[in-house]
């Protein structure tokens, strides 16, 4: 591996910037964060992904100091954060609800934190100006929050959090209200800022593509627990559970019974059907119950059964979703399960080779599918 790869979590000597140590947070008897232990390293772009209500905001709020863990410890730069108030933490948070000050103009909102640290005059103006330019809000500097659009408000919130250039920035769904183009631009701005300033980002997002683009590592959460933490590529290619595979991207899951065979498993997924084979280093338990996860784009779709391919299943096209650059075929296989297969639209729409009701063969290699417990 090249030396430039940024992977402090693989280096045992590296000191984490943030440490969650067996943190549990309860609201009444509701468990929002469930015995969570996680390290986040300096200069990381750490993305939290998970369904609504899984505890992402709660994690952020504990880092920022608005909630105290019911149990466990949070350390930032080695220091226990218990009892340290939010204004004494070198952390800034962008709120999911923006929390803009309605009585202040856009510029004054951005200047708010800077003034608290004693900046004034030309220095202050320059910094505010820079933030306005970065978030493309220069035109709206004099307006009040209620006089601008939702996306503009989101950018003000972002600018306000960025302005102080803190060591650690917490962004709770920072780009959700922006259109795709602006979102992508802002993502690159954020990555740029991160590269220039070395700020550590923890970012909550509902957009996997965003997590994939910006993150050094992605944490997939469910019900107050982190299910898997890995680089975007690993999360996608090597999910550790059906939950993660299903949560990130599109996936087909075939449930079946696995038996050891050579370098992997043979999976029987239905009565009287030929077994599928998948190479893997995973060791399934005794029961042999397993789930095979296959990404739609890894499945090829052909009219004839391809020769010399490990896994092939016959099916009928039920639906075709045209996505512009891609088409997704919904193919019903014997037994009624629906399998999604994706192909790039390299030819024009009229010259598509398959249509509704066609009988086709779905095939994939022995390394395409992931064997998971299930």
């Amino acid at each position: 591996m090249a030396q430039t790869v940024f992977a402090p979590w693989e280096n045992a000597d590296e000191k984490p910037l943030i440490q969650f140590k067996n943190v549990t947070k309860r609201f009444g008897d509701f468990v929002a964060i469930d015995n969570l232990t996680q390290d986040i390293y300096a200069r990381e772009f750490f993305a939290l992904l998970g369904p609504s209500g899984c505890g992402k905001t709660t994690m952020m709020r504990m880092l920022a100091g608005f909630e105290t863990p019911t149990e466990g410890q949070i350390l930032i730069a080695g220091q226990d954060m218990a009892g340290v108030p939010p204004n004494k933490r070198a952390v800034n948070m962008m709120f999911q609800s923006y929390a803009l000050f309605p009585h202040l103009t856009v510029a004054d909102n951005i200047a708010f934190g800077l003034k608290r640290e004693g900046k004034a005059g030309a220095e202050l103006d320059a910094r505010v100006e820079e933030m306005l330019r970065l978030t493309r809000l220069t035109k709206f500097a004099k307006r009040k929050p209620h006089q601008i659009s939702g996306g503009q408000r989101q950018r003000v919130a972002l600018a306000r959090a960025l302005a102080k250039a803190p060591k650690l920035l917490l962004l709770d769904e920072p780009l959700g209200a922006l259109d795709k183009k602006l979102r992508q631009d802002t993502q690159f701005e954020l990555m740029d800022i991160q590269e220039k300033t070395g700020t550590t980002f923890v970012i909550v997002t509902h957009d996997q593509e965003e997590a994939m683009t910006v993150a050094s590592r992605v944490a997939v959460m469910d019900e107050g627990q982190i299910i898997q933490v890995a680089t975007p590529a690993d999360i996608y290619e090597r999910p550790n559970s059906v939950y993660v595979a299903d949560f990130i991207g599109d996936v087909n899951i075939l449930h079946g019974h696995a038996s050891r065979n050579a370098d992997g498993y043979d999976i029987a997924y239905g009565e009287g059907k030929p077994a599928l084979h998948a190479k893997t280093t995973t060791n399934l338990g005794e029961s042999g119950k397993c789930a095979l996860a296959i990404r739609p784009e890894k499945i090829s779709i052909t009219a004839q059964k391809p020769a010399k391919v490990t896994n092939a299943i016959k099916g009928k096209i039920i639906d075709i979703a045209y996505l512009g650059n891609l088409s997704t075929y919904h193919v019903e296989i014997e037994g009624g399960q629906m399998i999604k297969a994706q192909t790039a639209n390299t030819t024009r729409l009229e010259r598509r080779s398959f249509t509704w009701e066609d009988t086709v063969w779905l095939s994939w290699t022995d390394t395409a599918a992931i064997v998971l417990e299930g």
Binding site: F66, P86, N87, N92, A99, G113, R116, R160
Partner: protein, 297 residues
């Protein structure tokens, strides 16, 4: 048509309940006292036609207003009223804001009860409530008894029939008018704004000063006007709790009207009082409008 009716209703209201009475009072203020019923002249007699109308208007003059400037009692009373009203507004704010703040911080389940407690005094007559303060503040009153019993003082404090008693009375009476609009403003305040302020480096106290206070400004202004405007013309409180040296224009007006039976001078006093009040009332309206606009978003 519908639009017209909608506009007509408030204007009609204003006309019947404000402009017409004002016109009557204003007319009396231009008249002269007379030993008659009603005790002023001229009165409008429409039976004598045009000539009667002309002589009626000829008899009206600004004499009473002129009279108000000749005796320093009047302008001193206006000034002293302004001072008492302004000071008691400040006191009411100082007492009312913490109460409103505490109410807004209280748990949801408690709020209706607290609100009820604030409004509850309105269920008893205002006059009785002011009277009962005499029982509390007088030399042998509850307050002095308590203070002497607890050994804090040996001689009773003289509070009743002083301006202090008037301030206490006004603050007590108008406190709900201060609390309610401030509470309404504070209740709407989004607590994440305070968190954002703290996150950006404010201590709790600075966050209060930079966020809570400005965002409850409209409520503070509304409350101050709601206290200041009626306090300026207050009559019952200074006459029951105040002393002979307590000079307030409401008391002067009452004496001109009932003791001297000088309706025209009393009316002139009232007209001037109204003119003084128009300034804060207009400012108050402006504040309300600004608030509506801000909320309209």
């Amino acid at each position: 048509m519908r639009r017209f009716t909608l506009i007509a209703v408030p204007y009609l209201w204003l006309l019947v309940l404000f402009l017409v009475p004002f016109a009557i009072v204003f007319k009396i203020s231009l008249s002269d006292t007379a030993l008659a019923i009603p005790p002023y002249a001229p009165t409008l007699d429409l039976s004598s036609g045009w000539a009667g109308l002309r002589s009626f208007f000829a008899e009206l003059d600004l004499e009473n207003f002129w009279f108000l400037t000749t005796d320093d009692l009047y302008w001193k009373a206006y000034l002293s009223s302004l001072q008492i009203a302004a000071l008691s507004t400040v006191f009411t704010l100082l007492v009312g804001y913490p109460i409103a703040y505490a109410m807004a911080q209280a748990e949801d389940a408690w709020r209706p009860t607290l609100m009820m407690l604030v409004i509850l005094p309105f269920w008893t007559s205002f006059l009785i409530r002011v009277y009962s303060w005499i029982g509390i503040l007088s030399n042998e009153g509850f307050l002095n008894q308590f203070l002497i019993w607890s050994g804090l003082i040996s001689e009773p404090l003289i509070i009743l029939n002083t301006n202090t008693a008037v301030y206490i009375g006004i603050v007590y009476t108008y406190l709900p008018f201060m609390i309610l609009p401030i509470y309404a403003a504070l209740e709407k305040l989004d607590s994440s704004l305070l968190e954002a302020a703290e996150d950006l480096g404010c201590s709790r106290l600075t966050a209060f000063w930079l966020v809570t206070i400005p965002l409850s400004k409209q409520g503070i202004i509304a409350g101050c006007f709601l206290v200041f405007i009626p306090a300026l013309g207050e009559f019952v409180i200074p006459s029951l709790l105040g002393g002979s040296q307590t000079l307030m224009i409401g008391k002067v007006l009452f004496e001109e009207f009932f003791s001297n039976r000088d309706w025209p001078v009393a009316s002139a006093v009232a007209v001037i009082l109204l003119l003084i009040l128009i300034i804060p009332i207009v400012l108050f309206q402006r504040n309300e409008q600004k608030q509506r606009e801000a909320e309209g978003q």
